[in-house]
């Protein structure tokens, strides 16, 4: 439907508010509501307010798919913000692509996807561990044990990590995957005990991650001699497991609540004060989600300038979003920008160490922005461009998922 | 002799179906009452009504003057009712011993011991106390059901076709035992029987049931062949 000047722009917020995925995704809904309130207060997008349509995907992929159709076909939203897991993203992408719509996907993921209908603000597998692995090897030793949840993202992340590991001269002494949602880490910890690594690299997610850290300590492992370097264990996780179980471990992420810059301080303070701050903390996933609102704003306005407000379509927004920057004064993690080819985000991963109070101390920040590369470990597949995946044979394939 | 059990205009239901209709009779202490009637007239239902196992009953049932209506089966059992149901109701996962012990839960003194009497009458049970009751043969189960009811130390034994499936010499013996229980120990009996001969031999009085109603009652001598002819043949 053509947009009308003066009428609010509808966008869909597609996250789970109930069920197993509610823990991270409820925060995403909250922070987006906060972001759009903030944007509306400051004049809206292209001069009109944004109206978020909130739906509950109930942690059920069937519902994700159904709600996507409802938002696009019935609510006629201009863009979708949604999903936390790759599985839910894959569940809705056929619809999004078929309708040539636009999805803002706000969290870290494995890449290896080249669609013309998504914009992602989280780190890709190639960005995440680039600094973390060399840092850990240097500080604790060469031997590392990989533990992950048994699904795509950890496996892809580990493939990347292996590249960095090799570069840093490290040695992989074991690699284990735990069924999603499992809370029994006895066998894995047993294997770790035998392998005697210098540190553990973890891509365990969700409730399992909390169980992992708890049992790590309960089984008598010492954080000083064998810390866990994680891509997931952030502020909510450490709070849930209890700071005593999190303290001393490492996390690589583009954002930490304790980041010391004025934009972040303002963000944390205002957010927690607002009616959306009820869960009492900010964390990387939340901040990446927050950024999508501003990426959308910038993209929409650029598109409006190019084709005229009334003619802005999801396609037009996406076509105009390459290279969009979210500046230091808006982005709590500092300047980021959208890659013009693959529409992922250039960002600076940072390494934090969990403290006794559950907050993170930044121990290292990347000097340069890291380029997102969804096909970093599959160079043969080609390169992702704005119009599709360009294979080595020069053929262009669209909608590669 | 005093009135032990009294039915006053009792109507008993399964779901919304009336099975017993306006049932009234009286039974004296120490009496042996035979309940007679064709198949499906409501003899078993009468027993179950006394135990409180039907869905609903109206009217008054009294034991020694105490009103039973409204009381749950487990409360009724403690008034000294020993029930031998049709189909025996043996708990198959219990041993013979446990089955008999089950009877003791309804005892006035709650003593968790098997009364010596139960085993004396049925030597098979005595020898097989630790067998699983589900494995017994039909007749053995019947014996067990009677033993269990005796373990209650009952004032009244409710016997629903107690000799069904029991070998002839033991049928005979059970007849003797019932007589003994009745005459020597003063236990009152309510007995349903298809065999007129047995009823005549054991009973002091009878009630004849047809289609859920009492059609005749009185001392056993009053049970004429004509009555039997009218209400018991097909």
């Amino acid at each position: 439907a053509p947009l009308k000047k003066g009428e609010p722009i509808k966008v869909g917020l597609l996250f789970s508010l109930t069920g197993a995925l509610a823990v991270p995704e409820e925060d995403s809904t909250l922070v987006l509501q906060y972001a759009f309130d903030e944007i509306n207060k400051n004049g809206g997008v292209g001069g009109v307010p944004v109206e978020p349509v909130i739906v509950d995907a109930k942690s059920d992929f069937g519902v994700y798919s159904e709600k996507t159709k409802e938002l696009i076909l019935r609510e006629k939203v201009t863009a979708l913000f949604g999903c936390y897991t790759s599985a839910s993203r894959k569940a809705i992408l056929p619809t999004v692509m078929q309708r040539n719509h636009l999805l803002y996907y706000p969290t870290c993921y494995e890449g290896a996807e080249c669609t013309q209908n998504t914009i992602c603000t989280g780190p890709l597998a190639n960005q995440h561990s680039q600094d973390l692995i060399p840092f850990m090897v240097e500080k604790f030793g060469k031997k590392v044990f990989f533990v992950g949840s048994n699904y795509v993202w950890p496996k892809e992340s580990n493939k990347n990590a292996k590249i960095w590991l090799e570069k840093a001269g490290g040695e992989l002494v074991g690699e284990e995957y735990i069924p999603l949602g499992s809370s029994e880490f006895g066998p894995v910890l047993g294997k770790i005990r035998d392998a005697k690594p210098d540190f553990i690299f973890s891509t365990v997610v969700g409730a399992s991650d909390i169980a992992f850290h708890k049992q790590f300590k309960q089984e008598g492992f010492k954080v000083d001699s064998m810390p866990i370097a994680s891509l997931t264990t952030g502020e909510i996780e450490t709070r849930a497991m209890g700071a005593e179980f999190g303290a001393g471990h490492f996390l690589s992420a583009p954002y930490f609540q304790t980041l010391d810059n004025p934009t972040n301080q303002k963000f944390v303070e205002n957010f927690l004060k607002s009616k959306y701050g009820k869960n009492g903390t900010t964390h990387y996933n939340m901040e990446e989600t927050y950024l999508t609102a501003y990426v959308f704003k910038a993209g929409f306005e650029k598109a409006a300038a190019a084709v005229g407000f009334e003619n802005v379509t999801p396609r037009a927004i996406r076509d105009n979003s390459g290279g969009i920057r979210v500046e230091d004064n808006i982005s709590p993690e500092g300047l980021v920008w959208i890659d013009e080819n693959n529409f992922n985000t250039w960002l600076k991963p940072k390494i934090g160490q969990c403290q006794a109070d559950g907050t993170f101390k930044i121990v290292k920040a990347a000097a340069e922005h890291v380029k997102p590369d969804p096909y970093s470990i599959y160079p043969d597949a080609g390169t992702c461009t704005a119009t599709g995946l360009k294979g080595p044979d020069g053929k262009l394939r669209t909608n590669v998922i | 002799m005093s009135t032990l059990l009294n039915f006053d205009n009792v109507t008993s239901y399964y779901g919304a179906t009336r099975i017993l209709k306006d049932f009234s009779f009286e039974m004296q202490k120490g009496e042996c009452l035979c309940v007679l009637g064709r198949n499906g007239v409501g003899k078993t239902t009468l027993m179950r009504t006394i135990m409180g196992l039907t869905d609903k009953s109206t009217g008054a049932i009294r034991i020694n003057g105490t009103e039973l209506t409204g009381k749950a089966p487990y409360q009724r059992a403690t008034y000294g009712l020993g029930y031998v149901p049709q189909g025996r109701g043996i708990l198959s996962d219990f041993t013979v011993r446990e089955n008999i012990l089950l009877g003791t839960f309804a005892r006035a003194d709650k003593a968790p011991e098997i009364p010596e009497l139960c085993l004396r009458i049925f030597p098979y049970l005595k020898e097989n106390l630790d067998r699983r009751a589900g494995l017994l043969s039909g007749g053995q189960k019947q014996q067990l059901a009677i033993a269990r009811a005796l373990a209650v130390g009952p004032q009244i034994l409710l016997l629903d076709e107690p000799t069904e499936g029991i070998q002839p010499n033991i049928v005979h013996e059970i007849g003797e035992i019932l007589k003994m229980l009745n005459k020597e120990l003063g236990i009152s009996l309510i007995l349903t029987e298809q065999h007129i001969k047995v009823a005549r031999k054991l009973g002091d009085s009878f009630i004849m049931v047809d289609n859920g109603r009492v059609v005749a009652r009185g001392p056993i001598e009053d049970m004429t062949d004509e009555l039997v002819e009218r209400h018991m043949t097909i």
């Binding site: - | 064709r38 098979y124 043969s137 039909g138 007749g139 499936g165 029991i166 002839p168 010499n169 005979h172």
Partner: protein
């Protein structure tokens, strides 16, 4: 002429106890054989063995010249053996009519039955049997609510619907009135024209009335066999089973 049913040296043990012990018998086609014996003698177990409900430890069962010892229940039933259980077993959630319809098992193949909506000859047979069993008035009643005696009749009717060559009746008259017992006796005697029967009963009056042959079991073995008067005269049978009064 060999018997319709031959049991050869049958034995069955449960754990350590030998319940059937080298038991043999033979039933000639067209006769009515009464199987009697004390409680726990093994009569029901013998029926279980014949109908395939349990498998013997040793021995053979031969029906119409065919060894059926190791066969499944339904195969044996199809071969022509129908059974009434001691504890009446009817399909309690089905109506009386449906019980009889199911029992009318001419076609048992699941696949063919998918395409069968009306069974040939069912109606006449059903009417006939229901009248015989006194169930005509209760055809649409749920079988679970029948009284004990009515349930007995229903199960007997079901066996009759099956039209088996050999009928095994485990205590068919338990809980029946004397009038009904007479009726049952008549029915059984009639049946002898077309089928063979083995009846287990403790009611000696009934046995006397119907039996061509009486076989007595005791502790899993054959104790005696013969006509009713021979049996009643047998001292051992009197001792373990009949008692003095009954024989008198």
């Amino acid at each position: 002429m060999p018997g319709l049913l031959e049991i050869h040296n049958l034995s069955k043990s449960f754990d350590a106890t030998k319940v059937i012990n080298d038991f043999s018998m033979e039933v000639v086609e067209g006769t009515l054989c009464c199987l009697v014996g004390p409680n726990g003698a093994g009569k029901t177990t013998t029926m279980d063995l014949v109908t395939g409900r349990i498998k013997p430890t040793s021995g053979k069962v031969i029906f119409a010249g065919e060894d059926i010892t190791a066969k499944h229940e339904h195969v044996i039933a199809r071969a022509g053996i129908g059974r009434k259980f001691q504890v009446p077993a009817v399909l309690r959630d089905l109506t009386v009519r449906q019980n009889l319809e199911v029992a009318y098992s001419r076609q048992t193949n699941p696949f063919w039955n998918l395409f069968k909506f009306r069974k040939a000859g069912l109606k006449e047979k059903l009417d006939e049997i229901a009248t015989l069993g006194g169930l005509s008035g209760r055809l649409n009643e749920r079988a679970g609510i029948l009284s004990h005696g009515e349930t007995q009749w229903l199960e007997i009717s079901m066996v009759l619907m099956q039209e088996p060559r050999l009928l095994l009746m485990d205590e068919p008259i338990a809980g029946m009135t004397e009038g009904e017992i007479e009726k049952t006796a008549r029915i059984f005697k009639d049946l002898r024209k077309t089928a063979t029967l083995i009846v287990v009963e403790h009611d000696m009056g009934f046995v006397r009335e119907i039996a061509d042959v009486v076989t007595v079991m005791h502790m899993g073995s054959l104790l005696a066999t013969g006509t009713i008067s021979e049996i009643e005269a047998d001292a051992r049978v009197r001792d373990v089973y009949l008692g003095e009064k009954e024989a008198a």
